[in-house]
């Protein structure tokens, strides 16, 4: 392969980039992935026992983005000065080969059909006036029926474990009764319930809800995926989130796709390559390639390509579009432009119940994707009419493996001591006998919540940092409070000796200091109208037709489910249409 030109250049070696590279090499294209971080080989860095190290892993952030090189600035409201996100805390983007797909947990959902067309669905049910002013509620422009084959394909690549409810319209198992129909069953049966999940399952059922096993990209049995990549059965070691899986049980680009890709002579992976910009021709409607910095030599390199795929983490994709002049930056005052519009996140609050002292919850046991959830208060599965909010939350016990440092640092506060002997009592009691229950919910987009370039702070390469303007809105607080109130009967049915139900408070600003979730979304969204979306339904830039942007940046609003499953399906959807439509006739794929 030429080192100066590739048919396609892909930015970022996470899930989206690896899927796109696999699909495009299969189509016969020469493909280069540029990854700004380093190589991550699970057999070496993930090896037992050195990888089973909480301090080096989740605490000192072995697999996460190095903020010293580049970060974001954050403010809550448009009249504030944004300040740099100097220490990783609220969210944890990945870096290096595998990206966030190496350190994720493995919860692997399909999108709810209503969530993909939320504006239409809400208007049909409750009328246009139900949607608050300045809430930018939008449809994706692609339906569940269209995406179904690609959800199916992704699950087979990921080796996803789960229990279906219906396959081709027929009830086949005791899966999620709210889940959409499937064309085939999960490739692997559901993972076993931990004790905590089993307790929640029974209690949720007793409370009249509909519990189901979380779909988990943690292998319940040995598995070989369609690319010939092999996974071993998960042993519930508890080191998914923040770690590379020493058993090859958790799906990652490194285990499930890259071993096949690396054998393809049309494929090349270049690490330590920080992309500075996508190069455009003088019409600004066509990309000619990219320019990147070799971070080891500090040399700038320009590569030519016919096709440029941005598949970095959500906000890096938006940042790169803004730095490159792709499309028009969003202006929240004039309500014009699309790049940076509809920045969204997810609401998550963790409640806790304590069981009697003779009952040990063994929270160190776990797997990232494992658990039991209810969807009775997710999406449009319940009547929002009298409630006055849009959105919802799954509620679950997702025991991913609770480790001591994180648990110790997080214990205390809210009236209980954070140090001293009373603190030790609380820590030990909580660690041994409690169960965490999450409400992991949606987050709606608003006109004044957006991304743009910061006027003050720069990255290590002299480029302006991305600026986030973000806080919680009353709609999401109302949603969260309502859903959390539904945990109370479950806690009672669990036989809790006491419980602490935690919810968002009105007026409480987004806090950058505490981990919430890495499920950021929006900023360069897909849609049907170039006035209100950056990408068309194939994730193709409306403005620069040989640039495709793959990631949760495409989500018009934050959904209640974890994003990775939908990102993977959208990647396969986009790749399929590049292969079948775009390559035959390069140019805009949707005319408006």
């Amino acid at each position: 392969m030429s080192t100066k030109h590739a048919d396609a250049i892909i930015v970022g070696a996470g899930w989206a980039g690896s899927i796109m590279a696999k699909e495009l090499t299969e189509a016969g294209l020469s493909v280069i992935i540029l990854e700004r971080g380093k190589e991550h080989t699970t057999a070496v860095e993930g090896a037992y026992p050195e990888s089973i190290d909480e301090l080096r892993g989740a605490v000192r952030k072995r697999l996460f983005q190095n903020l010293a090189k580049t970060t974001v600035t954050i403010r809550n409201t448009i009249d504030q000065t944004a300040l740099p996100y100097r220490q990783l805390a609220a969210f944890l983007p990945g870096e290096g080969v595998g990206g966030a797909g190496l350190h994720w947990s493995g919860v692997h959902f399909r999108a709810d059909p209503n969530d993909l067309r939320l504006r239409s669905a809400v208007e049909e049910r409750y009328g246009k006036n139900f949607i608050p002013k300045d809430m930018n509620l939008q449809d994706y422009g692609v339906t569940y029926a269209e995406l179904e084959p690609f959800f199916d394909k992704a699950e087979k690549v990921f080796g996803t474990s789960g229990t279906a409810y219906t396959v081709n319209g027929k009830v086949v198992g005791n899966g999620n009764i709210f889940a959409p129909d499937r064309s085939s069953d999960f490739p692997l049966p559901a993972m076993k319930d931990t004790f905590t999940a089993a307790t929640f399952r029974q209690a949720a059922q007793d409370a009249g809800y509909h519990p189901y096993s979380l779909p988990a990209a943690n292998a319940s049995k040995p598995y070989t995926n369609p690319y010939g990549c092999q996974m071993g059965p998960c042993n519930f070691c508890g080191y998914c989130s923040g770690y590379d899986c020493y058993l090859y049980s958790k799906a990652s680009p490194n285990v499930n796709i890259l071993p096949a890709l690396r054998q393809d002579p049309r494929f090349k992976l270049i690490t330590n390559a920080h992309v500075l910009r996508v190069d455009l021709d003088n019409t600004k409607t066509k990309a000619t390639g990219v320019t990147y910095l070799e971070t080891t030599t500090e040399k700038e390199v320009s590569l030519k390509a016919d096709l440029v795929i941005l598949s970095a983490f959500q906000f890096h994709n938006v940042h790169l579009m803004l730095l490159s002049g792709i499309g028009k930056p969003y202006d929240p005052v004039k309500n014009t432009g699309t790049i940076g519009r509809n920045f969204v996140y997810q609401t998550i609050t963790t409640s806790r119940v304590w069981l009697p002292e003779n009952t040990h919850t063994n929270q160190f046991i776990g797997a990232g994707g494992v658990g039991v959830a209810i969807d009775d208060f997710n999406s449009l599965n319940f009547d929002h009419g009298p409630l006055g909010f849009v959105g919802g939350s799954p509620v679950w016990v997702n025991q991913a493996g609770t480790k001591p440092i994180t648990s110790a640092v997080g214990t205390g506060g809210h009236g209980t001591p954070r140090w001293g002997s009373g603190y030790k009592d609380a820590l030990i009691d909580t660690y041994k006998h409690s169960i965490a229950i999450d409400a992991h919910g949606s987050n709606m987009a608003y006109r004044d919540i957006f991304l743009d370039l910061d006027p003050t702070w720069k990255d290590a390469y002299g480029q302006p940092l991305l600026r986030m303007t973000f806080t919680w809105k009353d709609n999401d607080v109302r949603m969260n409070q309502y859903v959390v109130s539904k945990i109370a009967p479950i806690a009672r049915a669990m036989g809790a000796t006491r419980s602490s139900l935690t919810h968002l408070e009105f007026g409480q600003p987004f806090d950058t200091r505490h981990y919430q979730t890495t499920h950021l979304g929006g900023g360069a969204i897909m849609g049907e109208n170039p006035q209100t979306s950056a990408l068309n339904r194939y994730l193709q830039s409306w403005d620069v037709s040989n640039v495709f942007v793959i990631g949760s940046n495409a989500f018009p609003q934050g959904m209640g489910y974890n994003p990775t499953g939908t990102v993977a399906a959208l990647a396969y959807w986009s790749a399929h249409h590049i292969r079948t439509l775009y390559l035959k006739s390069p140019g805009p794929m949707v005319q408006v």
Partner: protein, 242 residues
Amino acid sequence: MVKSDPTSPSKTTLALPRRSVTNALLGSTAFWLTRTSTAVARGLADEAALAPYKPVFFTADEYAFLLAATERLFPKDHNGPGALELGVAEFIDRQMQTPYGEGDNWYMSGPFKQGPANLGYQLPLVPRALYRQGIAALDTYVRQQYGSSFVTLPSAKQDIVLTALEGGSLQLQAIPGRAFFEQLRTNTLEGAFADPLYGGNRGLGGWLMLGFPGARADFMDWVNQDGAAYPFPPVSISGQTA
């Protein structure tokens, strides 16, 4: 609130004598060295070289402060060992000699402006500087307030000082007391519960208290035992057991 749990191992002897720890490690050397485990080799070298531990980053006075303050944050009590017995100060001193001590993955470019607390840490100080300046400023304050050093104060008075730091009412010259407190608290808890490879959690005493099995990392047969306590004591990355 809680109390004694008959199944808890916390009443057993928690800390192995250092010599027996070293012997236990040496006993398994052949296995480890054939795997060329650098982590374990380093642990062995450290064990042999350091007894008792002499701080490298902190001065003797600073280290005395650390020993006293971390024990107040994480005291020896009916649950088990405290920071002193677990080697927390040694852990923190060693951490200061790693890239973490220099804030290697923190964004440390200016300008530095203070803002609302929820927008996070905005000081131009990496952990090493935060400790050095924070301890010095706290020493000045305590001497002015009480006429002696923190180390020589009775524990009730030490707790009053720590409470003031935590509550944010104390400003340590350029450093908000709360920022210094959070750094100290976080590193103390890390030292109590990190793998013993890093110098803390001596004898796996922190893990024994919590019932955390360490690097066992295989629970295929214990996914759901209806609330029974996991039966095996912890093991460390280097193979040390408790």
